[in-house]
Symmetry: C2
Subunit: 183 residues, 2 copies
DNA sequence: TAGACTAGAGAACGTTCATTCTCAGCGCCA
DNA sequence: TGGCGCTGAGAATGAACGTTCTCTAGTCTA
């Protein structure tokens, strides 16, 4: 096993474990066991746990947004498709809310790299929604709905939160169209 | 110092510390130091840290909702006042997001009492909003906005998220009125 | 084939922290 | 006054865990 394969296996193990149980609850030994990579190699690839956490977040950000983007793009970049994607996500077996919000909660004073990764994710999602919705204000409103629905679905375990948010988004998008038409 | 005063001082210290730094980052010794209550007494009042955490959450829930309720009631129970209150909250010096969402993130598998306290808080807030807004669907939409704005304000540090959510709420409430009027 | 480097397995170290124990002091009741 | 029980201070315990170290064995090169 070369170093790049070890890195990938570590990141996959870390994502599974960190997302499922929380970062603090998972020891480096658990990552070693699940990845099949020795501790020595682990610390060669990631000199400290914080580095692994940061890499986990950056990787998850890419994959999460990629999945959303592909799904929505296949539906003609309809902003409402975002909420259909959310509903699928909420209903997945291991769904435990937003990894970035959870990490934010876990670390009172996060290491700088971790804090940056969390903010980066939210910034990127916001930028993506702004690209999807002409009016910037409305994009930000949808963003708040997305975050709220995610948090509530995680806590209540009810994927129907996506439908509630979708209904709200529909009204907000229609109101935007009207105000544009009136001008 | 009798036992009830010790309990109050412990809860106040716990709230300050747990909210500011996260539950896991605060040791029982820090609670002892801040409260001025001896470790022995601490463990008499709360046999384990989880009990203290649970009591902290239940107490914070009461106080948080009380503050919101009073503020909104003083403004004629206008649902939009909720977002004015949020904005004030977001701008407070020590604001670090929703204690319940943060705790949810901290504990991958929370102790039963803690999980129950988190769910209770969200259930109570939802019920409160439903009392404030006639249409149940719209109340739930506002709830998602509240949660989303809180999470984003915590991560970005921008209390303006409250305004974004308020604008969205205004549109949603107006749309509700229209649909009622049309009937 | 000898020697140098490397990897893996797992022991070891040092720290943190929840929880419990010890001990000395002090009020309270006979 | 003399013991009894409770208290606070803080040491002790035991576990978890991030990180490093040791040792053994294999592999590649000259």
């Amino acid at each position: 096993m070369d170093s790049t394969e070890a890195t990938v296996r570590l990141l996959e193990a870390a994502e599974d474990l960190f997302y499922a149980h929380g970062v603090q609850a998972v020891g480096m030994d658990a990552v070693r066991e699940r990845s099949g990579v020795s501790l020595k190699r682990l610390y060669q690839c990631f000199p400290a746990k914080n580095d692994l956490v940061e890499a986990y977040l950056l990787r998850r950000d890419e994959r999460w947004r990629g999945s959303l983007r592909d799904f929505v793009h296949a539906r003609g970049d309809d902003p409402l498709a975002v909420f259909a994607w959310l509903k699928d996500w909420f209903a997945e077996p291991g769904f435990r809310g937003c990894a970035f919000i959870n990490s934010f909660g876990e670390f009172g004073e996060p290491a700088p790299g971790i804090a940056a990764a969390i903010r980066k994710h939210k910034d990127e999602v916001r930028a993506y929604l702004r690209g999807l919705v002409p009016a910037e204000g409305v994009a930000d409103q949808l963003f708040a709905l997305v975050e709220g629905a995610t948090v509530l679905a995680a806590i209540t375990g009810d994927s129907g939160e996506a439908d509630t948010a979708r209904e709200a988004a529909k009204v907000l998008l229609a109101a935007q169209t009207e105000s544009v038409t009136q001008k």
